[in-house]
Symmetry: C3
Subunit: 310 residues, 3 copies
């Protein structure tokens, strides 16, 4: 029992993958695969109101959740709380409580502050669910789940012999953290993490991982290369010397990809910076599963919404 799982063992909120039982993770992935295979449930959430409540803007994630909610028959509202006029100086908690009082039953929340989404979950009324759509650098559980679904489709359910490399700005990435939690929970054989020292975390985020700054070495024989987006602000902050340097050292090219296993797949959470962390040839090549990730995102979010709301 926890904030995420209720006394009957059911998913109440989806806040993080770090504390999500592996049985719950597996159940969500199986249901998501059924949706990816075309399972129809057009009225599972009929009459239920779901609100995207984004304190930090993100059009793509919002639309993915919106499509998932609509396919389940839910009513969907969008509240862009990232503009000051939307909340008029109101506290985040008051904004949330107001929408809850209006009868919204599901909240898809993004926030720039670590822990802010879990804090809202503490304030929910019975029957109201929170889904974390990304908080700070901490968690992005639906992204972690869609990445795991993609891995299962490509490599099967047994991850014990899988070699995965995560490349880039792990330090600032909630995607990387959620993937690491999920890969460990699902028993991934070997996790490598690669990036410039300035972009690697110095806490226990990387426990159990092989860490290196040498991208060529890190790619040797991997089954999966998970590329991360390089935020351009890292250059302004002095963490990266130049985009050219970054591309030279950590950009995935077709030549470099040959170091990986012949059937290795390439993943990226999007949006891609083409020519920086990934070349066109790789992004659009036969080993790219990037668009499959996007498709799986809707299936995973359907499974999550259904689990917490029906």
């Amino acid at each position: 029992m926890s904030l995420q799982i209720d006394e009957n063992g059911r998913l109440r909120h989806l806040l993080d993958l770090a504390t999500l039982p592996v049985t719950a993770m597996d159940a969500l992935l199986r249901r998501a695969q059924a949706f990816a295979d075309g399972a129809q449930v057009s009225d599972a959430l009929s009459g239920r109101a779901v609100c995207t409540l984004f304190f930090e803007p993100s059009t793509r994630t919002r639309l993915s959740f919106q499509l998932a909610a609509q396919r389940l028959g839910a009513q969907i509202l969008n509240f862009d709380a990232s503009t000051s006029s939307a909340t008029k100086g109101e506290t985040d908690l008051d904004t949330f409580r107001n929408l809850q009082a209006m009868g919204v039953r599901g909240f898809v929340v993004r926030h720039k502050a670590d822990g802010a989404v879990a804090a809202l979950a503490q304030a929910t009324a019975p029957g109201v669910a929170i889904i974390n759509a990304g908080d700070g650098r901490s968690h992005h559980p639906s992204q972690g789940l869609l990445d795991m679904l993609t891995l299962r489709q490509a490599k099967g359910e047994d991850f014990s012999k899988l070699k995965v490399v995560i490349v880039g700005d792990v330090k600032h990435s909630r995607v990387a953290r959620s993937d690491l939690h999920a890969l460990r929970a699902l028993g991934c054989g070997e996790i490598r993490v690669c990036g410039p020292a300035t972009l690697l975390p110095d806490d226990d985020t990387l426990h159990g991982c092989t860490v290196t700054g040498d991208f060529d070495a890190a790619l040797n024989g991997v089954d999966v290369a998970m590329m991360l987006r390089l935020q351009r602000e890292r250059m302004v902050e002095g963490l990266v010397a130049s985009l050219d340097d970054y591309h030279r050292d950590y950009g995935l090219t077709a030549v470099r990809l040959r170091r990986a296993a012949a059937d290795a797949i390439v993943m990226h959470p999007g949006p891609m910076n083409r020519g920086i962390e990934i070349t066109d040839e790789v992004a659009d090549g036969p080993q790219s599963w990037v668009l499959r990730q996007v498709a799986n995102g809707v299936a995973v979010r359907m499974a999550v919404l259904e689990a917490v709301l029906s």
Copy 2:
């Protein structure tokens, strides 16, 4: 018969509470109570298109109407006319006529100019309804109705012995004006108005009210304290010396609230400035009906939309 009531005595538009017959007000409140009690009418407005047309932004009021419209099965569109690119120099009337020509049947309109919403009601085609979601300092009828519904739930339908105090920036408040119209129409026993002289209107808005600048005196024995939001721009305009001064003189604290009746309730139209017109202790305390107001807002707006559109 008037702009609001048609020749058959039915509600055609909802523009203000000042000229709304008390029978119409009572009918809306009874229907709203049924919705608050869970009455289902998921297809009352099926196939009908409702558009929120906001010439002044307001996310919360828009979402409340949107939820109400969706629960009635209506199609909902949002037109944020407060950004210049939305209307490209077009007149408000042309913007309205265009949406009307597209087949929109219900318009939820907010405008910063007094009378601008009623002006659009003059231009409606047969079968098209306007709901005033706030114009200038004049009217906010759905807020007035939801406040009356909240009062009925807390204090019963007979208002003749009720003592209500309205506190704060009454001068610039359409909420206060709509509440005053409704309280008078429903026969409220005693209406007190309290605030600094700079924020009280000098016209006939307050006729029949007891007016004072002494908040402690005004609170003595009241059944209801309706707190108003203090817009921070009032300080820039020199109408309020400082937020600290305002809080000291007109902020509702737990200590002050003891002057009211033991079962007095506290109301606020939101969003609250915590620490200014109201303390956390009061806002979140057992006498606060603030979130009940929010919940009643959806029920009232369902009743209004159903009345004018079905």
Copy 3:
């Protein structure tokens, strides 16, 4: 067979009227007339997701498509790609591919660059349709179709004796270009084009048209005056000396309109600059079909969405 028409002769995308077979144009217009007459098809697109993808903002066109999609029972999403945060430096093609991967089946696309919408149509998966909602100065086919529907309603289906004048900034107008393609395809008897030399195109856009700078002469005996919006930026660019001069030379007044046939109609794609290209008296007068155009817009867009998606 072309990008717009598939091997079975069915409409696959709507990109332009220049290459649309007249039989396809006629079929769309007939179906649109049925919708204008009240034909009901509330679940033709049930479960289908349609996304408005606007790389250039346009609230009115977006809402018209949204209403059309909702009437057909489609799920509608809006992606305003004109704000930089929406796409985060992603290419237009990646933005499109992502939405397509999410399962969106119909895209209503506006773009400021000529040809950008047709380029996306090259990248569609099977079963995915693109509708051009305006690209650069080139095409605005749904506007052209709604103008033709309006002409048919006013003047009948035989255009062979029709005299039409198009007035204003033809050079920068995708509306004018789409109207010209459609008028020629439907056999319009005489097409006159009138405007200052600086606002007339010098390519083959006007082939087959009578071109003049003399508005009074151009109006003589016409059955239809199609007025274009004058973008105020034309003055900044030095293409128009002043709005007063433009109004004097090319503004349609009630006096000028007497030169046209007694039953001539006046059209305008909106939003109107009242007092510049058209006076209030004409815009709101008995010969104005401007709001009828707006109403026809929804009917035409229903016909287009139904044709490409069902």
